[in-house]
């Protein structure tokens, strides 16, 4: 039996979190629970006579992403029409980019090797389709709220050779996208979507396989790995049998834990691309690009370096607080507040945030620092003071003491609680002091 390896190219779509649409001023509302067709206009609904005007921020953000990923920014770029018919595509064409994308090249390094990027371009998203039955007939319900949302498409070279590498690549890319600050890139909500193009070849071969299978409907990193693994086995089985896997689109089926055939691709689709006549071309000067470069927020790596240098955090602590840009910003606010009050170090703040994340992160910096100091006041209480309170609690709770001494060990927590109500200190300390007292 031959040894095989995966050859994977990824196509990733990222919805930008701009205020308005790619080519119109419709609200770009990323929440999920809204009513259908409430954010449309003549442009994104594809009404007769409507015309597109591009969103400057969407263009700038795409360039910034390209810069963060090491891409070349095209001096001249343009939009093109990509034609196909589908009910969620109102104009019968998608305004996208064909041969002059905003960004060319780029890369993401992984522990398995570099994954090169082929290109990054900007386009508009389509509406959404829901399947259901109405009056006994199978129908599709169309919602155009999402139509016209700015969408960035990132295409890699076929440099990914394992599911582990794929996941590492995706996690790194996901983090970069989030830290450039252009999208929430939430796979479950659909603001980041991915399609691996998978093929398999004999290990050691450098030629690209003659086929590839596109897999859709993947909405988590976990499923991406599972789908890749499934396809690997499936392709290997076919190849070992002397067959070539059919070039097609398959969908990941969560319930079956398998990919399912959706459509056979007869060669490339004919999208009849031509330059979008309604939108003049874009030209970027070096100054413009450099200005955008200076606006790129700190990356996760840059933050970590700074926290290690400035705040003396450990690498582990960095991983704990640099989860999202928002969370690391909260951390920094807390640190600023904390340094106003002496004794609270960045490390303290980090530990508290990491250990009590959900309950603490919503507090204002002042509230957070106050609470942190309060709960840390354990050191201020002497053993004498503690024993005095313990004695009075035991005196007032005779029954509990009797119960404990007769074997009901859990009762001690009730007594701990009573002590703690009077003394906000470490419960472990209370517990050990109580036990001592009860034995005596």
């Amino acid at each position: 039996m031959n040894e095989y390896e995966l050859v994977i190219g990824m196509e990733i779509h990222v919805e930008l979190k701009t205020e308005s649409g790619m080519f119109c001023g419709c609200k770009n509302d990323q929440s999920l629970d809204k009513k259908p067709n409430i954010y449309t206009c003549p442009v994104c609904l594809g009404l007769p006579g409507a015309l597109p005007v591009p969103n400057k921020k969407a263009i700038d953000w795409t360039i910034m992403l390209g810069l963060a990923l090491g891409s070349e920014i095209s001096e001249v770029s343009k939009f093109d029409r990509k034609h196909y018919f589908y009910p969620d595509l109102p104009k019968g064409y998608q305004i996208s980019q064909y041969d002059m994308p905003l960004c060319v090249g780029g890369f993401v390094d992984t522990s398995f090797g570099r994954v090169r990027l082929h290109r990054i371009h900007l386009e508009e998203d389509t509406g959404t389709l829901k399947h259901t039955t109405l009056d006994g007939k199978r129908v599709s319900l169309v919602d155009f709220n999402r139509s016209g949302t700015p969408l960035v498409e990132i295409v890699t070279e076929p440099d990914i050779h394992s599911s582990a590498q794929a996941i590492e690549f995706l996690k790194k890319l996901h983090q970069i996208v989030r830290f450039v600050g252009i999208s929430d890139a939430d796979m479950e909500k659909g603001s980041m979507r991915l399609e691996p193009n998978i093929s398999v070849r004999v290990k050691g071969s450098t030629e690209l396989p003659q086929y590839k299978v596109e897999v859709k409907n993947i909405n988590s990193f976990k499923f991406a790995a599972a789908a890749i693994e499934y396809e690997f086995k499936r392709h290997v089985a076919l190849l070992e049998d002397g067959k070539i896997p059919v070039q097609e689109t398959r969908g990941w089926n969560e319930d079956k834990n398998a990919t399912v055939s959706q459509r056979v691709k007869e060669g490339a689709s004919d999208y009849r691309y031509f330059p979008e006549p309604d939108i003049p071309p874009l030209r970027f000067s070096k100054e413009y690009i450099n200005n955008l470069k200076s606006k790129i927020p700190e990356s996760a790596q840059e933050k970590a370096q700074r926290y290690i240098n400035e705040y003396k955090l450990s690498k582990a602590q960095c991983v704990g607080v640099i989860t999202t840009p928002e969370f690391s910003n909260i951390f920094e606010l807390m640190v600023v507040e904390g340094t106003k009050t002496s004794g609270v170090t960045a490390s303290d703040v980090a530990n508290w945030l990491i250990n009590k994340k959900s309950s603490m992160a919503n507090l204002s910096p002042e509230e957070f620092i106050t609470k942190l100091i309060e709960e840390s006041k354990t050191v201020a209480v002497s053993d004498d003071e503690l024993n005095k309170i313990i004695k009075s609690v035991l005196f007032e709770n005779e029954k509990a003491v009797t119960d404990y001494k007769s074997g009901k060990e859990t009762v001690i927590m009730f007594l701990v609680g009573k002590v703690r109500a009077q003394l906000k200190i470490d419960t472990a300390r209370i517990l050990s002091a109580l036990k001592k007292e009860l034995i005596s």
């Binding site: 003549p42 009404l47 007769p48 006579g49 009910p87 104009k91 009849r272 031509f274 006549p277 309604d278």
Partner: protein
């Protein structure tokens, strides 16, 4: 009771309205009288606004008029049914949009509304702009007011007939490959194909996006100039609309054309051009000379390639622009497209398809550069080019329908103007022996509409072709 008010110019009407010697109510009443009298035969309109509603607008205009009101305040007008009008049916003359009521106004409609003009009709055309005779409409065909057995031209035959019959003082047409100039010539009126980008296309049902232009058609150059000033200018909703400042076009009326240089391209006047048309334009040339202009023969040998370039670009872009009509969000379904429209969609799809794109669409875009170079060369030495508009005068119905090539050749004088993007003023310059109007066009530099206005107005000051009105059985 005033009669034939609608034979007056816009500026004259505006004067009398301000001095209150006439009222908008009278004007609009006269419009409806004329429409009621002629429409059963002419079919210039697809949709006529409810009379009560229009009169209500007129009354309101009379009550709100001030001394500094816009010249178009309270003036009735019609538009080619390619412009979206909020709450008022818009069809592009196709069954697909037979019940379509738009939720928004085209920018040109908004601008005219702001001036106080009163829209009273959506006029007939070749469906989607596809044609030169208005016979490709899904509604009753518009008749030529000069001879009702003949076509009014196209694709804007409806607005042209409306202006010829003086239903209204002006109409908004649309020109992609001659659609405003061609019917103007066959109906004996004036029309302005503007510089591409001069007037916003937002809300104009797209035919060919890189060629479509929005412009006025009226009895005279002066009327066209008044309307142009009101509608020209950049629009944030149209990324191809120009930031070029809007000239005071009306001032161009008084400007002398002495010393203005006009090019006369010899290739345009060879075989294929009706001799009566040739004679009429040569007379016009002499007229320009007597007015002090300098007219010189030039060579523009690319003429023969204009129609092939156009019939690659336009069908390609229309095949794309018509993709949105899928019957999901509005309108009927695609089997309702007419034969002619299907021909253009399929030709365009072919020209854009993989394997053919380079040889057709891309090649046509290259040819476009060559044409631009050629025009720029000529227009750097001349203020305008004098050209015919049509090869023949109004044809009888059915003559044009079956042969696609003859059909396409009709556009020979018009299409290169759209391909390059320059403006052109079409105006009447004679009649055939059979009494059919003859038109010519003056093609200018990009944003050179003011010069065209000077040339047109000077010509119309010493001729009276534009004053002739088709009357008799049709009035």
């Amino acid at each position: 009771m005033n009669k034939n008010l609608l034979d007056l110019s816009i500026l004259e009407l505006s004067e009398r309205l301000k001095t209150k010697s006439i009222s908008s109510v009278e004007l609009v009443t006269e419009s409806y009288q004329r429409m009621e009298a002629s429409e059963p035969i002419i079919h210039a309109a697809i949709t006529i606004r409810d009379k009560k509603e229009a009169l209500g607008k007129a009354k309101n205009a009379d009550e709100t008029r001030k001394t500094d009101s816009h010249p178009l305040h309270g003036i009735p007008y019609v538009v080619k049914d390619a412009y979206l009008t909020k709450g008022m049916r818009t069809t592009a003359a196709s069954k697909i949009l037979d019940n379509y009521i738009p939720p928004y106004n085209a920018t040109v409609i908004d601008r005219l509304e702001k001036c106080g003009a009163i829209l009273i009709g959506k006029m007939n055309m070749d469906a989607w702009g596809h044609g030169a005779s208005t016979e490709n409409t899904d509604y009753p065909v518009t008749k030529n007011p000069w001879d009702t057995t003949r076509s009014a031209g196209g694709s804007g035959g409806g607005p042209a007939a409306a202006v010829a019959l003086r239903y209204v003082p002006f109409a908004i047409g649309e020109d992609t490959g001659g659609s405003i100039r061609f019917p103007a010539s066959w109906c004996g009126i004036t029309a302005l194909k503007v510089t591409y980008g001069r007037v916003s296309r937002y809300g104009a049902i797209a035919y060919a996006s890189s060629l479509d232009s929005v412009g006025p058609t009226a009895k005279t150059t002066e009327d066209c100039a008044v309307v142009l000033e009101a509608i020209a200018g950049i629009d944030p909703y149209d990324a191809t609309s120009s930031p070029h400042p809007v000239d005071k076009y009306v001032q161009g009326i008084k400007v002398s054309i002495k010393g203005k240089r006009i090019a006369f391209p010899l290739e345009y006047y060879k075989e294929g051009l009706d001799p009566e048309i040739k004679t009429a334009i040569i007379k016009a040339r002499e007229q320009f000379v007597s007015l002090g202009a300098i007219v010189e023969d030039v060579f523009m040998p690319l003429l023969e390639f204009g129609v092939p370039v156009y019939y690659i670009l336009a069908p390609s872009e229309t095949s794309s622009n018509l993709g949105r009509y899928d019957g999901v969000r509005y309108g009927g379904t695609r089997e309702l497209f007419t034969k002619e429209t299907r021909r253009r969609i399929l030709t365009g799809t072919y020209a854009l398809s993989s394997g053919y794109y380079d040889a057709y669409y891309k090649k046509a875009q290259k040819a476009r550069s060559v044409f631009i170079q050629n025009y720029t060369e000529i227009l750097s030495k001349y203020d305008a080019i004098l050209s015919p508009v049509t090869t023949i005068s109004a044809t009888k119905f059915g003559e044009l329908l079956d042969d696609p090539v003859t059909n396409m050749m009709m556009d020979v004088y018009n299409v290169t103007v759209n391909i390059v993007g320059v403006p052109s003023l079409a105006l009447p310059c004679g009649f055939t022996q059979k009494g059919l109007p003859i038109g010519m066009q003056i093609i200018g530099n990009m944003y050179g509409e003011k010069t065209l206005v000077s040339l047109g107005a000077s010509y119309q000051a010493v001729t009276d072709w534009h004053k002739k009105i088709p009357r008799g059985e049709n009035s």
